[in-house]
Amino acid sequence: MSLLEVRDLDAGYGDLQILTDVDLDVDDEEYVTIVGPNGAGKSTVMKSVFGLTTHMGGTVTFDGEDISGTKPEDVIHKGLGYVPQNENIFAELDVEENLEMGAYILDEVPQEELRKVYDRFPILEERKHQQAGTMSGGQRQMLAMGRALMLDPDLLLLDEPSAGLAPDLVDEMFDKIDEINESGTAVLMVEQNAKEALRRCDRGYVLANGQNRFEDEGAVLLHDEEVRREFLGG
């Protein structure tokens, strides 16, 4: 049984249905990406796992427990961490306070995890008293990931982690994600930068019009004629 199992998921916002019969699995310590054109519903899959959409049918099972329709403030207790694409930091709070908020559900700030986050992203320790909103795009993205790692989640959901980053930072960001995955955290990532994402991941899904189109190992998808032609620009 996989860590995350999405079966026949129908979801959307209010009356508007975006996803139809989406199936998706993430195994323990696996690195999975979702690629596809704009408006395919990639981010909606992530939001649905975290209870941020209207649940219309199907199931989301995490670690054997059905979490379909669970409220976002409760999903975090199950062992999932989520980094949304936009506004993923508390801009008014300083860096350390952002990380503390990541562990809000614990009674005490977990010093061990805080240490690990600082070791992984040294810039955050250097700037721990800087107001988060005044940092650069790359630093904000690291802070957002650090915040989501404060509870040492079993599965980390990353929505477009490379969006808006300078080209030289994109590689660094992907390296960091590799490291996080290698240290034992399963990763489910949505990426605009489809080729790079497929190159790095274990398995990939191609989503179009809110439905599954292809599913295979990243390298296989990357070399598939049809996928290349339709989704990777040749």
């Binding site: 975090i76 949304p84 008014e92 709070l93 503390e100 908020m101 915040r147």
Partner: protein, 370 residues
């Protein structure tokens, strides 16, 4: 050449910044008339000091009440027009308690709790004052906070919470309805008369020397400074140092992200009401203790100044509410140096408008902090 260049530059400044020039001219005229007034003896330094002191105290009340308004705005995203009447409720509840403690045994409990409605009991006769009846005053201030908190939580539970997902406009208009309902309920229960609440003559005072005379500082002035200053410091520490306070700031910053990090939003909202309403109730009580009169319109009349302060400071910021409150209080008070005292409130709004023209987001914008 250089003369004509300078001339051109000044002409350009004049045509591009007529507002700034106008404000500068008015400021210069005000400074000149103040200085000449002081030099010729038309304005006494001691009376100016007295006005500044009065303005500061007024500003502390406005600021204290403004913190609550600003906090509920930043976390719930709506301007609560009933806020002024929360303040009045606190004042009545607190004064009723003070009357009861000071006058129990000699007067009927009903007359005391109704703050002497219809002239049945007089605050002066009971000796209400921070030195003459300290226990009555402390308990009054506490009850003012507690009753206002209970009121705010009840109104939130039964009125605002059911429509929380509606637009801000729906909440705002509802709050105007709540304001009217509360105010006339207060009038119905306590009566429409404005009553004196303190033993004004027996409040200890010192005359502080100020070059050409003295200005008066009373025990109630000092208690207002201590209570308001202490509570403001308390809110600052709550927001900066405690986990719940940080969660409040986080939620005011980014509600969606707060939810996915597991911050219990309803609990944060409840805390916001508790802190905001508690401060407002105590502000109402201290206001009435300080000015020595109490009427059912007090909070409503103060509300416009509180709004002016909060907007001026940058709505959503508690530091903005405090800073804006002091600016508004000082302006309303000190403006009598230049204009008739009837226009004090108008001057406060004028200053608000002028500051917003130059800094539309408010003075403390960008440092929201709940």
């Amino acid at each position: 050449m250089s003369v004509s260049e300078t001339y051109v530059r000044y002409r350009r400044t004049l045509s591009e910044e007529p507002l700034a020039i106008g404000v500068l001219l008015v400021a210069l005229w005000m400074a000149w008339s103040l200085v000449s007034g002081l030099l010729t003896g038309g304005i006494q330094i001691s009376s100016l000091a007295s006005l500044i002191w009065d303005g500061l105290l007024r500003g502390l009340i406005i600021g204290l009440a403004g913190i609550g308004l600003s906090m509920t705005y930043s976390i719930l995203n709506f301007a609560n027009f009933a806020h002024g009447d929360y303040l009045t409720t606190g004042a009545f509840a607190g004064m009723g308690t003070s009357y009861l403690v000071a006058g129990i045994g000699e007067n009927s409990v009903g007359a005391l709790l109704l703050v002497g409605a219809g002239g049945s009991v007089f605050g002066g006769a009971l000796g209400i004052g921070v030195t003459t009846a300290p226990i009555a005053v402390v308990l009054g201030a506490l009850l003012a906070g507690i009753v206002t908190i209970a009121l705010a939580l009840a109104i939130d539970r039964f009125v605002y919470r059911p429509i929380r997902d509606e637009s801000g406009i729906a909440l705002l208009i509802t709050s105007i309805g709540v304001a009217f309902a509360l105010r006339y309920l207060l009038q119905f229960v306590y009566g429409a008369g404005v009553r004196g609440t303190t033993a004004a003559g027996s409040v200890p005072r010192v005359n502080v020397p100020a070059i050409d005379g003295t200005f008066r500082v009373t025990a109630h002035d000092i208690s207002l400074v201590v209570v308001a200053g202490g509570l403001m410091l308390g809110v600052h520490l709550l927001l900066q140092r405690t986990k719940l306070g940080k969660a409040m700031r986080a939620m005011s910053d980014n509600e969606d992200l707060a939810r996915i990090t597991g911050i219990p939003t309803e609990r944060v909202i409840r805390t916001t009401w508790i802190v905001g309403a508690g401060l407002t109730g105590v502000a109402g009580y201290m206001f009435v203790l300080w000015k020595g009169t109490l009427g059912f319109n007090d909070g409503w009349l103060l509300l416009l100044l509180v709004f002016a302060a909060v907007i001026l400071g940058g709505i959503g910021s508690i530091y903005g509410a405090i800073g804006g409150g002091i600016i508004i209080g000082l302006t309303a008070s000190v403006s009598v140096v230049w204009i008739p005292s009837e226009f004090g409130r108008a001057a406060a709004f004028l200053v608000m408008i002028v500051i917003l023209l130059f800094k539309p987001e408010g003075i403390f914008s960008g440092r929201t902090t709940a």
